[in-house]
């Protein structure tokens, strides 16, 4: 237990030291990668084009969403279809708090307060939903969470303070690539630690056979609620990142289609594998963007059609997903 904790800590410290060193070396050339951490996107010209910049941020946010859903869907076996709802709560609560109370605070404080509030609000709702859905399993759980997700969205749509149907504008934009990357990495490592720890083993046993797990002295209800709370916390944080990198929120972003997208990331990559969740998020984020070029050439928008066909084909040709149950070495439990 402590050994693993140390390894994770070492990895994180190593990452930071490495980043500082790399920064030092590269600063002797013309650009400073530390700019990745401290500047706002607007002052980023020259390092990466704004387009790639926004795609990379979107990729990181999708990885957080996908990995957090993997905890529920892949490890605990709770099939939920309302993840976009948690993301919406996080996005709106952080956007509202920061733009109302902290519009001029330094970005570190904005980020900390916004993301924390987003996570806590979202986790509170996750707790409530988790408790009320405990009796359900399988498809029925999926349907109820789908319903909750849509209700959250419709309620947000009817709150005037967050823009209602017009959408919420003028949200402070302060997310930058470096902090998003770092927090994504931390999320991945936290999920890995949970999976390898006592809680994760309990979750896996519930997924395999709930009744047997109960016999072994695991309380399935408490583990399930914990899975809901952790997962929704992370989805809420991802929502906050999304709000503060886009600067504009519309409830149309958080429909059940978004929830399906996150499920698809999990399944395409391989259900029950963190690496798979990351890979799936990568593929389903990059593919539509990469196909944009095709649209420029052909002049018609066939990228979403190719996206849909890819989803179907992967499911038919490789039903266990790309990674299956396997993990990349740095994410495997040994």
């Amino acid at each position: 237990m402590t050994k693993k904790l140390n390894a994770t800590l070492l990895l994180m410290i190593g990452f930071l030291v490495g980043a500082v060193l790399l920064n030092f070396v590269l600063s002797s050339f013309s650009f400073q990668p530390s700019a990745l951490f401290w500047t706002k996107p607007g002052r980023f010209d020259g390092l990466i084009s704004p387009y790639y910049y926004s795609v990379l941020i979107l990729l990181s946010i999708n990885i957080i969403l996908s990995v957090s859903l993997a905890l529920l869907n892949g490890f605990t076996g709770l099939f939920t279809m309302g993840h976009a709802g948690f993301m919406a709560i996080g996005a709106y609560s952080s956007a509202y708090l920061v733009s109302t109370y902290l519009p001029t605070a330094p970005f570190v404080i904005q980020l900390a307060v916004g993301a924390l509030a987003a996570g806590v609000f979202s986790a509170a709702v996750g707790f409530f939903i988790g408790i009320s859905c405990l009796r359900l399993a399988g498809d029925y759980l999926g349907m109820v969470t789908l319903g909750f997700g849509e209700i959250i969205r419709i309620i947000l749509l009817n709150i005037d303070a967050v823009g209602g149907a017009r959408g919420m504008t003028d949200i402070p934009v302060f997310m930058n690539l470096g902090s998003v990357f770092l927090l994504t990495l931390i999320t991945i490592l936290v999920i890995k630690r949970i999976r390898d720890g006592r809680l994760g083993r309990a979750m896996l046993s519930i997924k395999e056979n709930e009744m047997a797990a109960n016999m072994m002295g695991i309380n399935p209800l408490s583990i399930k609620v914990r899975a809901f709370v952790i997962s929704s916390f992370m989805a809420g944080v991802a929502g906050a990142f999304f709000a503060h990198s886009e600067g504009y929120l519309s409830t149309q972003t958080f429909t059940f289609v978004k929830s399906f997208e996150i499920i698809a990331m999990n399944v395409v990559g391989g259900l029950g594998s963190i690496s798979g969740a990351i890979l799936g998020a990568g593929i389903l984020t990059v593919l539509p963007e990469a196909l944009r070029k095709l649209q420029d050439i052909t002049g018609i928008d066939i990228r979403m059609i190719i996206y849909a066909l890819t989803m179907i084909l992967i499911m038919i040709l490789r039903p266990q997903g790309i990674m299956g149950n396997r993990e990349w070495k740095w994410l495997s439990s040994k």
């Binding site: 099939f79 009320s132 859905c133 009796r135 359900l136 498809d139 029925y140 999926g142 349907m143 109820v144 789908l146 319903g147 909750f148 849509e150 209700i151 419709i154 309620i155 749509l157 009817n158 009744m211 059940f256 399906f260 499920i263 698809a264 399944v267 395409v268 259900l271 018609i300 928008d301 066939i302 979403m304 059609i305 996206y307 849909a308 066909l309 989803m311 179907i312 499911m315 038919i316 039903p319």
Partner: protein, 300 residues
């Protein structure tokens, strides 16, 4: 009171369209335990098949009951073919795969139809032509009965009667009910499972196609994303009635149509869409098997 009757009439018309779509959901769930998310988009395609048939095959169609029936039959055939293609190429290869895979495939098919529809038909809404002579009948006390609504009632009712006959009085229906009890056992006693599933898709899709045309008649602005919300609501109606249960789907759909119209009429139309989901949650939390479903007990 008159207002209430008016809302009831409108709600029943909306509910019968939901019912036709919900039947497809519930039948496919019955045999495959699959929430066929593409079903709402087959409903959309039915609407568009009707529209394009009128536009290119019979451009000078006279509004009459006969022409409406012609369009409905064409849309039913088109949707049935579409349903068969989807079943054969997307769902059949996955028969042995985990259920979540088929669900993802269904979502993929749904996205494919939506964006394919935007490519072929264009993303902007199009107007569904009048194929029925429309009359507003004042039945006293400010209650207006739209002749289109009568057609919707009658057509839906007849289709449901035919379905009832098919499911409960024919050999195919018995095979289908056997499969919904246990696919493996049905296979063992010599039922051609694939054939029955295919026919189930044919029936479900053709009902959705008919519903698509009726929807176009009642709400003449159609676009490729039209199937999304009515599809989801029809699915909720199926859950409300007890998914897998045919009578339940019809009752659930009528109840949903009625309650939606009442909420829109007496409260606020912005919460109309939330209502369906509230119903979904309440039903699943309080009575997961639905109004008419029976509870399955898990045995160790």
């Amino acid at each position: 009171m008159n207002e209430f009757i008016q809302h009831t009439i409108n709600g029943l018309a909306l509910g019968s369209i939901y019912a036709l779509v919900a039947l497809g959901y519930t039948m496919v769930f019955g045999v495959l335990q699959l929430i066929n998310f593409a079903h709402g988009d087959i409903f959309m395609m039915g609407s568009f098949i009707g529209l394009y048939f009128i536009r290119y095959a019979v451009p000078n169609i006279e509004p009459s009951l006969g022409s409406a029936l012609l369009v409905i039959v064409v849309a039913m055939i088109g949707s049935a073919i579409l349903g068969v293609i989807i079943e054969k190429f997307a769902y059949r290869p996955l028969r042995k795969a985990p259920r979540i895979n088929i669900l993802i495939t269904a979502i993929g098919v749904s996205l494919f139809l939506e964006y394919g529809g935007q490519l072929v038909f264009g993303a902007s809404p199009q107007f569904f032509p009048d194929i029925l002579p429309r009359k507003m009948i004042d039945i006293g006390g400010d209650i207006i009965l739209d002749s289109n609504q009568i057609t919707i009632f009658v057509v839906s009712f007849v289709l449901m009667l035919i379905l009832q006959y098919l499911v409960f009085k024919t050999q195919f229906g018995r095979a289908m009910r056997a499969i919904s009890h246990s696919l493996e056992t049905a296979n063992l006693i010599g039922i051609n499972v694939n054939k029955v599933i295919l026919i189930t898709f044919v029936i479900g899709s053709s009902l959705a196609g008919a519903a698509g045309v009726l929807y176009g008649v009642a709400y003449p602005k159609i676009d490729p994303l039209l199937g999304l919300l009515p599809g989801l609501k029809a699915f909720i109606a199926a859950v409300l009635g007890g998914i897998g249960n045919i009578t339940g789907a019809v009752i659930g759909a009528l109840l949903l149509g009625l309650s939606e119209t009442y909420v829109a009429g007496y409260l606020s139309s912005t919460y109309r869409d939330a209502l369906a989901f509230v119903i979904l949650i309440l039903v699943l939390l309080l009575r997961p098997a639905g109004l008419l479903g029976t509870k399955k007990i898990e045995k160790v």
